[in-house]
């Protein structure tokens, strides 16, 4: 019997990684949910917007590093982040001008916009690969860990270690802060409310004196900021690779939808649901149980509900289950 070790093993392999991954998805999902909430379409280009923002940030980071500028224990990329956001904002505003605005004027159906965003995705996809290539890039510097597994073991004398990465901590904190800020912005500020009004009834918003172009611009700038932040934090934690960022799109959408499209809290909740359902259902409880039960009861098998082959299948099955009971997601999302 060794409850502490069991707990630490669980924290180290399930809770901390799940929490961090959930926060990463949530940050991405916040951007998706914002676009859906205000502009009413599922933006397939979000993954590549994240890639673009991260790419710019990386380029700036390199410049800063070569100029000898750093952020001490924190990654240099955090200094470069504002530049990334600015460039991405410029890009998406330009895209809106050149592409989306036309369809907005036409009052095109949301599915048309989805397919249009698919086109934008292809283009951005190409641009990113043109500029920075397809290779994997690690750009994290500074202290990688708050505490490593080894240090933890030495500190506590336990058999199991607990590792927490700096980026994991930053991501979780950022996700929560951004969620609260976004919720506050949309529900309490004048601009935020005008954005919701615009999404609800565009013609009536016009009749209330709301400037649609401004609403759209603010939405895109926020989306760019969210996408870049999400991308950079993810890239710092894992690494940057254009293709993976594209692949991220799926779990991000899953998070946004299961949380309820258009709801910032939903995006966070959805992120955690997706992450934890991936991590927990296929978890082999052997290790934890071995600590908990007397030695001769220790399980032989892995005590695993499903093998990890079915990780995605299981996490999707959980999403579907959630939706069957809450047809518009955990937090009563919108549907167009």
């Amino acid at each position: 019997m060794d409850i502490l070790n069991a707990l630490v093993a669980f924290l180290n392999f399930v809770f901390v990684p799940g929490l961090a991954y959930g926060a990463q998805l949530a940050l991405g999902a916040l951007g998706v949910t914002l676009i859906y909430g205000i502009l009413r379409f599922s933006n397939f280009a979000h993954g590549d917007t994240m890639a673009f923002g991260t790419m710019v940030t990386i380029l700036v980071t390199w410049a800063l590093q070569s100029a000898g500028i750093g952020a001490g224990p924190l990654p240099t990329a955090l200094i470069a982040l504002p530049f990334g956001i600015a460039a991405t904002a410029a890009l998406v505003l330009g895209t809106d001008r050149a592409v989306y605005r036309f369809y907005r004027k036409q009052k095109a159906a949301p599915t048309i916009l989805v397919i249009v965003s698919l086109g934008v995705m292809f283009v951005m996809n190409g641009i990113v690969r043109f500029i920075i290539g397809v290779e994997e890039i690690s750009f994290a510097d500074g202290e990688r860990f708050l505490v490593t597994a080894g240090e933890f073991r030495a500190m506590t004398g336990l058999q199991e270690g607990l590792a927490i990465r700096t980026t994991q901590a930053i991501t979780v904190v950022t996700a929560i802060v951004v969620m609260v800020a976004l919720f506050w912005f949309l529900n309490r500020t004048r601009t935020g409310k005008s954005m919701r009004a615009f999404s609800d009834n565009e013609d009536l918003a016009l009749l209330s004196g709301i400037n649609p172009e401004r609403v759209v611009a603010v939405t895109w700038i926020l989306a760019a900021a969210l996408a870049t932040t999400a991308g950079v934090l993810y890239g710092l934690d894992k690494s940057f690779k254009a293709f993976t960022f594209f692949q991220l799109l799926l779990p991000i959408f899953a998070a946004a939808i299961v949380g309820g499209l258009g709801s910032p809290i939903g995006a966070i909740a959805g992120g955690f649901v997706v992450a934890f359902s991936e991590v927990t259902v296929t978890y082999a409880w052997k290790k934890v149980l071995t600590y908990l039960v007397p030695a001769d009861w220790a399980p032989d098998g892995l005590v695993q509900l499903m093998s990890t082959d079915y990780k995605f299948a299981v996490s999707f099955a959980i999403l579907i289950l959630v939706l069957l009971f809450m047809p518009t997601g955990l937090f009563k999302g919108k549907s167009v």
Partner: protein
């Protein structure tokens, strides 16, 4: 005469990050031959690239169809992923009687495929490597391992081979779990692997793909500290990304007694790309074999040179290493038998299969230190 060779790899799609180096590897051989200028009495070889997308069989065959029927390539180099390789073989190479050599498709199913003697590959067989790895583990007195494999024919085939061989040798495999490439997070896989335990984690994946992600997560959480790295996991980028944490890990990769592998890395460096990237050696060898076989047949028509490929690749004969292509052409012209060894010690057995011998290495201070050859 202008000899065109079609290079069909997944330039876009899941393997897009390793394909540029593979293509460069093939083109390295082609440039070398062109520089010599002696192939088939001064023919110039040009490479025409096509995108296999790795996953879209229809797009891949369309690209191959275009290269063969429109660009008139005389042979196809590729593809990379076994699925599209098989599709191209059936839909394009066989109907048009074109030789196809894949540098990286390792699916056992391709061994028995109906190919009219047109299909070859330079990537070593999974079964053989499984045996080698089991030996390595045994020699290092390791009795239990966990295995994770990339969920495709290569990964699964290799994992099964390792497991069979290792268990036959009395070892214990605690878990053999798949991971998907290109995914965002591998916590779940690492959690399961860690729970199962084992002295070493065998990672039958790709270095630029999920394999690296799994190692990273395993190192970060302290789940494993020693890894066994089969051929797909060999690459500088692994050390660069993970650093000293994987010191002490070891692996196997196709390798020769000679310094063919080292040579190709040098040559690649001079040409401006990473020669340690996965399948670069195999790519160079595949292209070289194609060209040397043409020379041996004295013709660039597939029907003529398809029979010469095995002859060129195998003993007996004078051994040919990377960088020796000009010499090889001269030797063939002179009627001397050659044995192409190349970067990966190519030896073709059975129906166009590579036998492969392996190099065992350990990572020490961020360097790949060769222990021995098997």
């Amino acid at each position: 005469e202008d000899v065109k060779i079609g290079i069909i790899l997944g330039f876009t799609g899941p393997l897009e990050s390793i394909t540029p180096s593979m293509a460069a590897g093939a083109e390295l051989a082609i440039n070398e031959v062109n520089a010599a200028g002696t192939l088939l009495d001064g023919s110039k070889v040009t490479a025409v690239r096509g995108d296999s997308t790795c996953v879209d069989a229809a797009a891949a065959t369309a690209a191959a169809e275009r290269l063969v029927t429109s660009d008139k390539v005389v042979a196809i180099f590729g593809a990379d992923c076994s699925g599209v390789t098989g599709a191209i073989l059936q839909a394009v190479s066989r109907p048009n009687g074109i030789v196809q050599i894949s540098p990286s498709s390792t699916s056992p199913a391709l061994s028995t495929v109906e190919d009219d003697g047109l299909f070859f590959r330079t990537a070593p067989s999974d079964a053989r490597q499984g045996e080698v790895i089991a030996e390595v583990l045994k020699d290092r007195a390791i009795s239990s391992v966990a295995i994770t494999f990339t969920n495709n024919d290569y990964g699964k085939g290799l994992a099964e081979a390792i497991q069979t061989a290792f268990e036959a040798a009395g070892g214990k495999v605690t878990i053999s779990a798949a991971h998907e490439d290109g995914k965002a997070d591998y916590s779940a896989e690492v959690a399961a692997l860690a729970a199962a335990g084992g002295e070493v984690l065998v990672v039958a994946g790709y270095v630029d793909q999920g394999g690296k992600g799994v190692i990273q997560a395993a190192v970060d959480t302290g789940a494993f500290s020693t890894f066994l790295l089969p051929d797909g996991m060999y690459g500088e980028s692994l050390v660069q990304a993970i650093g000293s944490a994987i010191d002490g890990s070891f692996g196997t990769m196709p390798g020769t007694y000679s310094d063919g592998a080292a040579k190709i890395v040098e040559m690649a460096k001079a040409a401006g790309f990473d020669g340690t990237s996965t399948y670069v050696g195999e790519s160079y060898d595949a292209a070289s074999l194609m060209l040397l076989a043409m020379q041996a047949a004295g013709s660039s028509a597939s029907a003529d040179f398809k029979g010469k490929i095995e002859e060129v690749a195998n003993a007996p004969g004078e051994k040919i290493y990377p960088g020796d292509l000009a010499k090889a052409i001269e030797l063939i012209k002179a009627g001397t038998d050659i044995d192409y060894v190349g970067a990966t010690n190519v030896e073709l057995i059975g129906p166009g299969e590579s036998a492969g011998s392996f190099r065992e290495y350990t990572i020490k201070d961020g360097q790949f230190v060769t222990d021995r050859f098997r």
